[in-house]
């Protein structure tokens, strides 16, 4: 590939930039882009990151390669020590888990996610469920949300199934507002909610209302692309910038960490050939 970085690699680097050094961060399962972002952060700007692997709960593992499923001994290779399930979630409940990474088939303008069901009243599509996301979304310091399926092409009838929606049919993971408009702090939740969303079209943050706000775009996406593929009208940062491309060393690191290119499975087929630089 002649491009400096693929879309997947650029997304991984963007997610990695949301991770601060010296914090405890947990990647869940079924999230290759996020798993790689944590390993990139740990090996670049955040050497003192406490990296907790999803599904194995190993701390600071060094996987020989990224596996297609998360609960695999390869993902646990050379973990310094392992937590059990209760210790992991206790840390979050006690306000000691700094960051978690969540997604959904629907993500609403306040950053709530639905991974449970489509159909607010009648069940139309049963999704796999949220794992521990419901608990963690209330408890964890901050969340980085991500999706590789922001682009939602219209079907034969011209109808889009938006990934970024006005309101989730079902709130599995709580963002900055409940379905009836309450803020998590009013409920006594400790978590600070989502502070970033990284998609295949751009990067967002959340303003003081807790509303999603576009802050940067890829070299090949526009504000119009974002508007067209989003059910609500996203707010715009004063200056919408371009997402920085990962350094060549970071790209090389990602390719070393994921020789099977597992992370590309998260991308929509047309996005697998996108590259920049």
């Amino acid at each position: 590939m002649s491009a400096q970085a693929t879309l997947g690699e650029t997304m991984i680097a963007a997610i990695a930039r949301t991770i601060e050094d010296g914090t405890i961060c947990f990647h869940g399962f079924g999230s290759p882009l996020v798993q790689l972002a944590l390993h990139v952060a740990k090996r670049t700007h955040a050497p003192d990151l406490v990296l907790v692997a999803g599904a194995t709960y190993g701390i600071n593992p060094e996987p020989p390669f990224l596996t297609p499923t998360s609960n695999d001994w390869a993902m646990d290779r050379r973990a310094e020590i392992s937590l059990d399930i209760e210790e992991l979630f206790d840390l979050a409940a006690a306000g000691r888990m700094d960051r978690m990474f969540l997604s959904g088939l629907q993500i609403d303008k306040y950053g709530s996610c639905n991974v449970t069901r489509l159909g607010a009243n009648e069940l139309k599509l049963k999704l796999p469920g949220g794992g521990g996301g419901c608990n963690l979304s209330c408890d964890v310091g901050n969340m980085t949300l991500w999706t590789a399926a922001h682009r939602s092409a219209p079907n034969d009838q011209g109808k889009r199934r938006y990934r970024l929606v006005e309101q989730c049919d079902f709130v599995t993971n709580l963002g900055h507002r409940t379905r009836d408009g309450r803020r998590p702090a009013e409920l006594g939740h400790r978590g600070g909610g989502p502070d970033y969303l990284v998609t295949d079209l751009g990067v967002f943050d959340f303003d003081s209302d807790g509303h999603m706000r576009l802050v940067s775009l890829y070299p090949d996406t526009s504000v119009e692309d974002v508007m067209e593929n989003t059910q609500f009208e996203p707010r715009l940062a004063e200056e919408v910038t371009t997402i920085p491309l990962p350094e060549p060393e970071v790209v090389a690191l990602i390719r070393r960490l994921d020789p099977l290119k597992i992370h590309q499975r998260e991308l929509q087929p047309a996005d697998r050939s996108r590259g920049f630089g």
Binding site: P64, F65, A74, D76, K126, C134, R179
Partner: protein, 330 residues
């Protein structure tokens, strides 16, 4: 033999029974006799690892019905039980094939048709509900989940004002599974179990459930269990166990064998085609058509498959080769 405490006769007493028999080794058919129609069942393992698949296949063959399955993050285990018509309610936190294949087709069909009541939970909620049972308490508080649709879905969840701080908390009731079904690497005749690698929720399941039935790769002496590093589930929680080599297949049971991705891919593709295709292409040949676990092992390729899946030990290249067949799916 199951002896109950001096306080009562097991299920009716204040605590769950303890299981004190000297030799709990049984055949697979006897092992599964502990699961009855309508039971709440905690299936051990998680995602593509250490699922008690041989026991689940035997339960499907037997025609067990109306199970309520509770747990954290699961995949092929619950999906297959749903296809087998064994489940009437799911209180799992996740049932799917991650980014590898995506949604669980049989589970989806069963939920969407109404055959399985959707009662999704979330991991820490389940942990707290099991802990309540382990601690002998009627409920546990959690700060999270209030304000989500998961809370609204469960009329049994309550809220209370903390008498010390005035904060509002959610309360989740104790959950005591009738049976925990666990696959471990090793066990001894007495029922001590040694799980290697992530135990997921299995240790909590074992402590909270009325009965624990276990399949293990190898039954060894207690002395050998110590040499291996010791047990992590005490025998008196365990009702019965069977030696079932490759008993987690097609999920992984390291260090014996890795995840059989090829088999799982075939499973998934048949499941995706529909209930009839799945029954004809998978359930009939691999579950109903294999009257014993030995017949199943032969069906999946016997020694050769065992060697292939054990080849992860030959180095990273060999390990990767188990997963790197077809690149990115369309």
């Amino acid at each position: 033999m199951t002896k109950t405490s001096k306080y009562g006769n097991g299920a009716k007493g204040p605590g769950a029974p303890i299981h004190t028999g000297a030799d709990k080794r049984v055949e697979l058919d006897e092992l599964i006799s502990h699961v009855e129609d309508g039971n709440t069942v905690a299936v051990g393992g998680g995602l593509s690892s250490r699922e008690p698949m041989a026991v689940l296949r035997a339960l499907i063959r037997k025609g067990v019905k109306d199970l309520n399955v509770v747990g954290s993050a699961h995949g092929i285990d619950i999906d297959m039980l749903c296809a087998g018509g064994c489940v009437s309610e799911s209180s799992e936190s996740y049932v799917g094939f991650e980014q590898d294949f995506g949604m669980a087709p049989n589970y989806r069909r069963a939920c969407e048709s109404g055959e399985v009541k959707v009662n999704d939970s979330c991991c820490y909620t389940v942990v707290q509900q099991l802990r309540a049972t382990i601690l002998g308490l009627p409920f546990m508080p959690v700060r999270s989940i209030r304000g989500t649709s998961v809370f609204d879905m469960h009329p049994e969840y309550k809220t209370m004002t903390c008498p010390y701080t005035g904060e509002e908390l959610a309360l989740v009731p104790a959950v005591q599974p009738d049976v925990a079904v666990i696959h471990a690497q090793y066990g001894d005749a007495h029922g001590n179990l040694r799980i290697e690698g992530p135990p997921v929720a299995d240790i909590l399941f074992a402590k909270a459930s009325k009965k624990v039935i276990a399949s293990v790769e190898e039954i060894v002496s207690n002395e050998r269990l110590h040499e291996l590093g010791g047990a992590n589930i005490p025998y008196f929680y365990v009702t019965a166990l069977s030696e079932v080599p490759m008993g987690a297949h097609p999920t992984a049971c390291y260090p014996f064998y890795a995840y059989d991705r090829e088999h799982t891919k075939d499973y998934y593709q048949l499941a995706k085609q529909g209930a009839d295709a799945f029954k004809a292409g998978y359930l009939d040949p691999f579950v109903h058509g294999c009257g014993t676990h030995e017949a199943y092992l032969e069906k999946i390729g016997g020694e050769e498959t065992a060697r292939h899946l054990g080849s992860w030990k030959d180095g990273d290249e060999a390990w990767m080769a188990l997963y790197g067949d077809e690149g990115v799916p369309a």
